[in-house]
Every structure is written in structure tokens, then in C-alpha cells.
């Protein structure tokens, strides 16, 4: 490794293969878990469990594969804004439907 690379490493965090392997395994376990859970009869909890596991996997992808954990505050704020805007828009859309004729179609 050259001197230049050493310098660059100080300025910019490099995520190593070990982290990626651990995340890969966690995602595969999560996939197995969610498929297994779909075979159980959980009633209303089936979609909740599926979405919770999906969100857990998504968080791992965003934090480690997409390096948000190691990124600047600006990036973190941008990701936070995206999640907030998405939830706000979905929430407002649903509140409109729910307050009009929810369950009466």
C-alpha cells in the first residue's frame, strides 16, 4: 500500500471484508427467518413480523453496505429526511383514506 493510500485512509473510513461478511450472514439469516415465519400461522402478526424483519435487514444494508454509519452528518441527515418524508407522505395519505370510508367499501 502506498503512502498516498495511508493518508486517504485517515480521511475516509474504509469498511473491511470482515464487516461485509458478518452483514451478509446476518441478511441471509434474516431471509431464512422471515420465510420460516411466513409458514407460521400468526394471524395479524404475519405482516407485522415480515415487515419488522425486512426493516431490520434494510437497516443493516443502509448502515453497513451503504456505509451510512461511517458517513458525514450531511449524509445521515439526508437519509433521515428521506425516511421522514416517506413516512409523513404515507401517513398523511392513509389518514385521508382512513378518515373517509375505511372498511366500508
Amino acid at each position: 500500500m502506498s503512502e498516498q493510500y495511508e493518508q486517504a485512509e485517515h480521511a475516509h473510513h474504509i469498511v473491511g471484508p470482515k464487516v461485509y461478511v458478518v452483514i451478509l450472514l446476518a441478511l441471509l439469516v434474516g431471509t431464512a427467518l422471515t420465510v420460516w415465519a411466513s409458514f407460521l400461522e400468526l394471524g395479524i402478526w404475519n405482516p407485522i413480523v415480515a415487515l419488522a424483519i425486512a426493516t431490520g435487514k434494510a437497516i443493516l444494508v443502509v448502515l453497513f453496505f451503504m456505509q451510512v454509519k461511517y458517513s458525514s452528518k450531511l449524509t445521515k441527515l439526508t437519509v433521515g429526511a428521506a425516511i421522514f418524508m416517506f413516512l409523513a407522505l404515507v401517513g398523511m395519505t392513509l389518514s385521508d383514506y382512513m378518515s373517509r370510508a375505511w372498511g366500508r367499501w
Binding site: 415480515a50 439526508t78 392513509l94
Partner: protein, 240 residues
Amino acid sequence: MAETHEEHPSYQRHHFESVEQQKDAANFAMWLFLVTEVMFFGGLFTAYLIYRNWYYAAFVAASHQLNVFWGTLNTVVLILSSFTMAMGVWCSETRRRRGLVLCLSLTVALGMCFLGIKSIEYHEKWEKHHIPGDHYSLQSFLNPASDAEVYSEYHDKPLPLDMARHTEIYFSLYFVMTGMHALHMIIGIGILVFMIFRAQAGAYTSGHATYVENFGFYWHFVDLIWIYLFALLYLISRHQ
């Protein structure tokens, strides 16, 4: 590539103060693009959520037509491709040219594998006339026992005609959502092929990994969308 002219490396554009600032700017722009992607897919997810609540019985019966085995296999393939992409980013950052070319090539191969499996699933929908349009068939929903393979697993009761017709909405959303996802993958594979040629020439292994990193964000985002599509389309209605 890395030789300097004046005081800065050749890959630093003149309107940036430093390489670090250039990297931050490109990174921020990439994330802004991904925010627009969140809004785009978010709209589709919201439509799915509302229609699923409206035509619940139709969505349950229609989702039973999806094969959990293919869906699971594709999820594993896509997660593996995200891993090889992440390793590609690491190779780029640590200046391993051969490793980078290998990782990008594996990512292309896994991406193609995903699309191949998706086409097997699409073909099955084609054969059963479950593609929305003039040739759409309600038979699997009006007379579930006629669809032996699915019936043996789910024992669905026949749907009344007006509800059965709403299964077409499920498949419209299914094809739009998985189709837009597949289109993102096709575009991604195109960029990957371009990157493999550039990487062979040493483009991303001389201290400037931003392009590979930002493409990696895009590829992982596509993986992330699939994680939710898999849960919502394949898994959540198996017991209803």
C-alpha cells in the same frame, strides 16, 4: 492516473477545493438521487397498501400464485450480489484492480441470475394468463381447484366474480413494482459492464473510488427495495 499536475491529483476537478470536498459533493448528490427513488417506489408501495386493504380477499388469493421458493432464491441471489458489490467497493478503496474486476463481474453474474429467475416467474404468469389485459384469466380465482398446484398448498375458496376481477389490480401492481425493480437492475448491469472495462484499465484503483462507491449505493438500494417487495408480495398473505 494518480500523477499530480500542479498541486492536486488528476482526478480532482478544478472547481473543488480538495479531493475530500469533491467526494462529499458527489456522495451528497448520489443520496439526493436515492431520495427521489425512495419517493418513486414509496408511491408504489402506498398504492399497494391501500389497494390491499380495499380488495383484501383478491390480494390474498392472487399472492398465493407467487412461488415462495423462487422468491426466496432470488432474495438470496440479490443479497449475495450486494455482498460482491460491497467487496468491489473495498477492492477499489484498497487499490486491488484484479479483485475489483472479479467482484464487479460476479455482481453482473448474480444480477443476470436474478433476472433469469424473474423471467421464469413472469413466464409462468404468462402461461396462466395472469398478465393484466385482454387475455387476463380469472379461472384460478373463480375455480381455485382447477389450479391444482396452488390449490394443494392453499385450499383457497372461490372468490365472487366482482372480487375475483380485482386480482388483476394485484398483478398490475406486481408487474409494475417488480418490473420497475428489474429495470433498475438492467440499468445497473449496464453500468457495471461499463465499469468492468474501466476497472481493467485501472480507473478506480488509483485512489479515486467515488464512482464505484456511489454506484454501490445504487445497487444496494435496489437490493433494499427487493427486501420489501419480497415481504409484501410473497410472504404476508400466506395464511389468510
